[in-house]
């Protein structure tokens, strides 16, 4: 059996590197917010020659946008899309997202704590999902800076989905620890090693199937869902990684610290 827990420093190093890179980018470059957050207009037309033209306007330039719109219309161009988001929508979106994140994270924490009869399990699982959300945010700050990925409505959806996926994966590992706890009376360090060995193939295989679907969407699904799929992909990878290498190590370390205190 592989002694997974022996390499905790390595997992900390990997997570640390990714998180620090992300946080650095968030502080230095921030995000490239889409019009869902900033307000404004994006219009796309297909003119007769088959060429498509994209226009972006700030919220103040709406009359200009309408002028171009009528102009293109009278020239027989096809309107591919026209999105006009008022400046009041963005703050609402952020507020709603924060509420949704808080509510679902707390419910999941309670559910895990209840099912595994320990707040330790609940909090470690939630910390792992927090890790994934931060990784996703950091990555999108980097993608935004280097490839122009926008943070929009769909990104928010992706983040919430990853929250659930990450916990999904963590629960499967926890479940093995719980099952072994009933049968063997080893300490949590050994039980965790056993559980990780038993679930590793399953975790990887499951991520592969999800990644296949997402890669197909990224490559062939069209521009609208491309970055959304990328966000889900980043989240899937991080979520798969965080269950054995973030949630379980936190759980084990917590348990060790607790025992040390009890001894003293």
């Amino acid at each position: 059996m592989i002694n997974w827990m022996k390499y905790r420093w390595l997992y900390l190093l990997i997570s640390g590197t990714v998180l620090i890179a992300g946080i650095f980018s968030m502080v230095k470059w921030g995000f490239k917010f889409g019009i869902d957050f900033t307000g404004g207009i994006v219009a796309e037309y297909k003119i007769k020659s088959g060429e498509t033209k994209i226009f972006r306007y700030s919220p103040a330039e709406s009359s200009e946008a309408e002028k171009t719109r009528s102009q293109f219309r009278s020239q027989g161009a096809i309107e591919i899309r026209f999105e006009n988001v008022g400046p009041s929508i963005g703050p609402e979106l952020i507020k709603k997202t924060v509420i949704a994140l808080t509510v679902s994270a707390s419910l999941i924490l309670l559910w895990v704590a209840y099912q595994f009869k320990s707040i330790k399990f609940g909090i470690s699982a939630t910390l792992a999902t927090l890790h994934d959300s931060l990784v996703l945010l950091g990555m999108f700050s980097l993608f935004g800076h280097f490839f122009g990925a926008e943070v929009d409505f769909l990104f928010v959806t992706a983040m919430l989905t990853i929250l659930s996926f990450s916990v999904h994966d963590t629960i499967v590992v926890y479940d093995r620890i719980r099952e072994s706890q009933k049968k063997f009376s080893g300490n949590i360090y050994e039980l965790a090693n056993k559980a990780l060995s038993e679930t590793m193939v399953r975790s990887l295989n499951n991520s592969f199937t999800i990644m296949f679907m997402l890669i197909a969407l990224i490559l062939m699904g069209g521009e609208t869902v491309k970055w959304f799929s990328v966000a889900l992909l980043v989240g899937t990878i991080s979520g798969t990684y965080s269950s054995p290498f973030v949630a379980v190590p936190i759980l084990v370390t917590w348990d060790e610290i607790q025992k040390k205190f009890k001894k003293n």
Partner: protein
């Protein structure tokens, strides 16, 4: 008949039923064209009619998503909600009169802001629709009254004062063409009460102008020739025919109780929608093929059983989209794709478990034990995902969460996918595997 066969017959029935509903309305196979009939029969007075068509959202079918802000700041708290209902009803009437098929008008409330969400599928001229919906359309008849002259020699000035005759007194408005000059004009028919008011107003204003004001603009100011008792009037302004038509729609639908302003518009052309569908189908097919192949390569014949389960999963999902019906949007398709990836997870969990248990006991027991043991983690894990999907879909319309838009579409398909995957992953694959092992043992 052993129970396992009964269960297999049950699975087969569901699969065939789902396949039938999933089929497109007509399709060509081996050079022959088939037609899928919709459900429609009646038993006595009880009628059953169901169309098995996929409902597409605006981003796939093309159309406009409009959000208006209703300004109720001037109203007292108890009048706000009825005013909003009024706004919704008036907009609904206007949109229906405009001739949009299957529009949706909803109200939403967040942080003290009152929103009206209007969805117009397949609309071509959004700008015109926005003008039509957004106008308050408050029609009032005014009369001129003399102001008492302040100084003796000053010319007497007049001021406009509103009469009690408004758009609310209208029974009907329609576009007519003026018999003298052929110009489009608007003919108004008043209610009985309105007719009486009109008669009184015309009586006391003979020889004087009677300005008709629509949303702070004088659209016509005819001079009254005689008392009009017939209860009808004609506005001969300088309308274009389009303006006349729009005004008539607004007058017939009634005025908005409070002013509204557009805060969000998302219009997707039908071309982009069609392209998105095409691309999603390609991506979905490729993805599912890759997942199937992967399952086969990893688990051999067990993987094939999972693949059959996956096909049944796909059929049931599509059938339920049509039956419920779920309005399919682009994020919704992504939710479906993600649930496909997750659907095989229960199979993977069980198969991995099966590998372990096979070493310890005979193959039939190992199968049953694997299903039993894997169930705990499948249940706990899926509940967590369902919790998130529930928050995102917000079925109870809690105003502090998202009440519409792409997030909801995504969450609904994801939740549905998880529920169905529990059925196919546990019930369907389990019984197929039982049969599979039974047959293998015979050989």
């Amino acid at each position: 008949m052993p129970t396992i066969f009964k269960k297999l017959v049950f699975i087969l029935t569901i699969a065939i039923g789902a396949l039938y509903i999933s089929l497109p309305q007509s399709f060509t196979l081996f050079g022959k064209t088939f037609r899928r009939y919709d459900l429609g029969f009646s038993i006595g007075n009880f009628q059953v009619a169901r169309k098995f068509d996929l409902k597409l959202g605006l981003d796939l079918a093309g159309g406009s998503h409009l959000v208006f802000d209703a300004d109720v700041s001037k109203l007292s708290d108890d009048k706000k909600s009825s005013a909003l209902m009024g706004v919704r009803d008036v907009i609904e009437k206007r949109v229906n009169l405009f001739g949009v098929s299957e529009p949706s008008v909803q109200t939403a409330n967040f942080d003290g802001k009152n929103r009206i969400i209007v969805e117009l599928p397949g609309i071509k001229d959004t700008k015109e629709a926005i003008n039509l919906i957004g106008k308050t359309a408050q029609l009032t008849f005014y009369e001129e009254t003399m102001l008492p002259a302040k100084e003796k020699d000053a010319t007497p000035s007049t001021t406009l004062t509103p009469t009690d005759l408004t758009g609310a007194d209208l029974q009907n408005a329609q576009v007519v063409f003026d018999s003298n000059n052929g110009k489009p004009s608007i003919s108004l028919t008043f209610t009985k009460e309105g007719g009486n008011k009109f008669a009184k107003i015309t009586e006391r204003n003979i020889g004087k102008p009677l300005p008709i004001i629509l949303d702070n603009t004088i659209i016509s100011s005819p001079v009254v020739q005689e008392t009009i008792t017939g209860g009808s009037a004609q506005i001969t302004g300088s309308f274009t025919i389009d303006e006349a038509k729009k005004t008539v729609i607004q007058l017939n639908a009634g005025a908005l109780p409070v002013p509204i302003t557009l805060v969000e518009e998302r219009t997707v052309g039908a071309t982009l929608g069609g392209e998105s569908i095409q691309k999603s189908i390609t991506a979905g097919t490729v993805g599912i093929l890759m997942v199937s192949l992967f399952m086969f390569l990893s688990y051999g014949s067990l993987g094939l059983v999972a693949d059959i389960g996956l096909i049944i999963f796909g059929l049931i999902t599509l059938a339920l989209y049509k039956l419920i019906p779920v309005t399919l949007t682009l994020p919704g398709i992504a939710g479906f794709m993600l649930s496909v990836g997750m659907a095989v997870d229960s199979n993977i969990l069980i198969f991995e478990r099966f590998k372990e248990e096979k070493a310890k006991r005979n193959i039939t027991d190992a199968l049953e034990v694997s299903f039993g043991r894997a169930w705990d983690s499948i249940r706990d894990a899926n509940v967590a995902t369902l919790v998130t999907a529930f928050i995102l879909a917000n079925p109870l319309d809690w105003s502090f969460l998202h009440t519409s838009g792409p997030v909801r579409g995504f969450a609904i398909t994801l939740a549905l996918g998880i529920a169905i995957s529990l059925f196919t992953g546990l019930f369907v694959s389990r019984n197929l595997l039982r049969l599979f092992i039974r047959e293998r043992k015979k050989i």
